[in-house]
């Protein structure tokens, strides 16, 4: 084992959008679930529970959408771990080797996890899907939101989706994707923890500080 190198892997825009996403997804899921199924009923008409839930949902919808756009822009300017290619491991031969290797590690067919400085290839593929799910969620959400003002801005941009997929179809999609994202979050936290133990390079702390401790010998 040679000397560990300290590498700046996750630049600040990556970390910032990551944590904005975390907060947004938590707030949007809780308020969104309440909007779909108001599990608290209040005795007084002067309360404003649903009103606040919807208000928060709309505020964080904007936060989430802006975070998504910021991350998309960073795909062009970030380091090699933040760019488009990092999320398409299937595009290269090495990528394929690592996909298979990581798959074998997860299915207990291989003892040692293939070493990755940035995203491991399976995670990168999951993030590609999640990035698209985020987009569907943002688009369907703003299309539904736009219904309060027919002819307004959001109705003008996404109103045609209400014609194509129907009002209720969009609503159902919006609900189901929330659950997919909750499922993803469970997997994501677990896998990050697992890799923190197995890769031994500071995976968990890297999303807070951005640094990883890389063994140059292990890098392929």
């Amino acid at each position: 084992m040679s000397t560990l190198e300290i590498r700046y892997v996750w630049e600040w825009p990556v970390r910032l959008t990551h944590w904005f996403n975390v907060i947004s997804i938590i707030v949007l899921s809780v308020t969104g679930y309440y909007i779909g199924d108001p599990f608290v009923s209040v005795p007084s008409t002067s309360s404003y529970v649903m009103g606040w839930m919807r208000y928060l949902h709309f505020i964080f919808a904007y936060v989430f959408a802006l975070s998504w756009i910021a991350r998309l822009i960073w795909m062009f300017f970030g380091n090699r771990h933040a760019r488009f290619l990092a999320f398409a491991p299937w595009a290269s031969r090495d990528g394929w080797k690592n996909i298979i290797g990581t798959f074998c590690f997860y299915t207990f067919l291989r003892r040692k996890v293939p070493y990755a400085v940035g995203h491991n290839p399976l995670a990168a593929m999951a993030y590609s899907c999640v990035f698209i799910l985020f987009l569907i969620q943002i688009v369907s959400g703003f299309a539904l939101y736009g219904q309060f003002a027919p002819g307004g801005l959001w109705d003008g941009i996404f109103g045609s989706l209400l014609v194509t997929f129907g009002n209720q179809g969009l609503r159902l999609t919006h609900h189901l994707i929330m659950w997919l994202l909750i499922g993803f979050a469970i997997h994501h936290v677990y896998s990050a923890w697992l890799m923190d133990i197995k890769e031994k390079n500071g995976t968990l702390s890297s999303i807070f500080g951005g640094y990883k401790f890389i063994d140059p010998d292990e890098e392929n």
């Binding site: 005795p43 404003y48 009103g51 159902l172 659950w179 677990y190 923890w193």
Partner: protein, 371 residues
């Protein structure tokens, strides 16, 4: 500057017109009420009242052909029973209804001849009204009138009309006959006759007030009112039921009836959790209401079922739940139950994976142990 006196003057209806209507048996008060209700329904300023009264007076009675296909005559019923300021009287007196299967006196060859004569004589000038959807499957054999298919009749009559008004959800979007599995291949008028100028007035039944207003608009301005992306007039379908609902304050507060007859329901709380589709339905029910403005479903204590939306019935059922069924799952599986199951399964799977990973011996060759 706004000048109330000028408004009054422009909006006034001339004595001459009022006297003519009195001679026809409609008293002036009723006629003025009719004109003001129409002006308000069309969301026009009060100054247009005089113009509307004059349009009703002009000698250009457009002939009307009212066709019934795959429908239940509910829209005819709704229209004939319209008596808010004697709307039916005024409109029925005014229009020349040359063909209407439910109310015409003629029968058989006689009425077919009347219809054909109108289409010939007033080509491009008459109004076609269609009630019910049009079956397309198997060459349109599932609905025929006088030996001709609904499809052929619609193509001929709507294709040659100045304007076509599709009344009710069936004619507007296919409605109940078009619900899955749609055995007759039922479609809306605008789908069956793509070239026709069609105004959709969905609703089950449509609100007669909106039909009257649409006709008055056509008579006053010589064209159909402005429509949204579903071909519905904006004056009647421009706002969501939810946004004009009298129970909206309870929705925002967080007060919901949980079951029919429970304490919340008796207090008039929001019907959201009973599956009310007001948040997904665009219609003027809360402001115009039905039957002389006496009531509408939500006021009567039942949630909206979204009857005037495209894809009603399929997308609005189950009526007592918020969301449609998830395709491929059973009746009892809601989106949230399936989602919760998915999340739980993920947690269990990764939990098991974690246990297995913890028990497995790692390659620790590079790790230095602390003493």
């Amino acid at each position: 500057m706004h000048d109330p006196e000028k408004t009054l003057l422009e909006g006034s209806v001339s004595e001459e017109i009022l006297q003519k209507w009195e001679a026809r048996g409609v008293n002036r008060r009723d006629f003025l009420k009719f004109c003001s209700v129409m002006t308000a329904s069309l969301a026009l300023p009060a100054t247009f009242m005089g113009q509307i009264a004059e349009a009703m007076e002009a000698d250009n009675r457009p002939p009307v052909i009212w066709m019934e296909f795959q429908g239940c005559t509910g829209d005819t019923e709704a229209f004939l029973r319209a008596n808010q300021p004697t709307a039916a009287e005024i409109i029925l007196d005014y229009l020349s209804i040359d063909y209407h299967e439910t109310i015409m006196a003629a029968a058989g060859h006689q009425d077919e001849a009347a219809k054909n004569a109108t289409v010939e004589k007033y080509k491009g000038k008459y109004i076609a009204i269609v009630e019910g959807s049009i079956p397309m499957a198997d060459g349109g054999v599932y609905c025929t009138v006088a030996g001709n298919s609904a499809l052929n009749i619609a193509r001929e009559v709507c294709g040659n009309a100045a304007a076509t008004i599709a009344v009710g959800t069936c004619a507007s979007y296919g409605g109940l006959p078009a619900a899955a599995p749609n055995p007759t291949g039922a479609v809306s008028v605008s789908e069956a006759v793509p070239g026709a100028t069609v105004l959709n007035l969905p609703g089950c039944p449509l609100n007669a007030e909106n039909l009257t207003a649409a006709i008055v608009h056509f008579l006053t301005f010589g064209k159909l009112p402005a429509t949204d992306s579903f071909g519905r007039p904006k004056f009647a379908y421009g706002k969501r039921i939810h946004d004009n609902c009298e129970r909206r304050a309870h929705f925002d507060a967080g007060q919901y009836a949980e079951g029919f007859g429970d304490a919340g329901h008796r207090q008039g709380w929001c019907l959201y959790k009973l599956g009310c589709k007001g948040p997904e339905t665009f219609h003027n029910c809360p402001t115009i209401r039905y039957n002389e403005g006496s009531s509408w479903p939500v006021q009567a204590g039942h949630g909206c079922i979204g009857c005037s939306e495209p894809q009603f019935w399929d997308s609005m059922t189950p009526f007592y739940r918020r969301l449609p069924q998830v395709p491929g799952f059973g009746v009892e599986a809601t989106a949230d139950k399936i989602g919760l199951g998915l999340a739980a399964a993920t947690a269990v799977a990764f939990g098991a994976h974690g246990v297995a990973s913890a028990l497995r011996k790692d390659d620790d060759s590079t790790v230095k142990r602390e003493d």
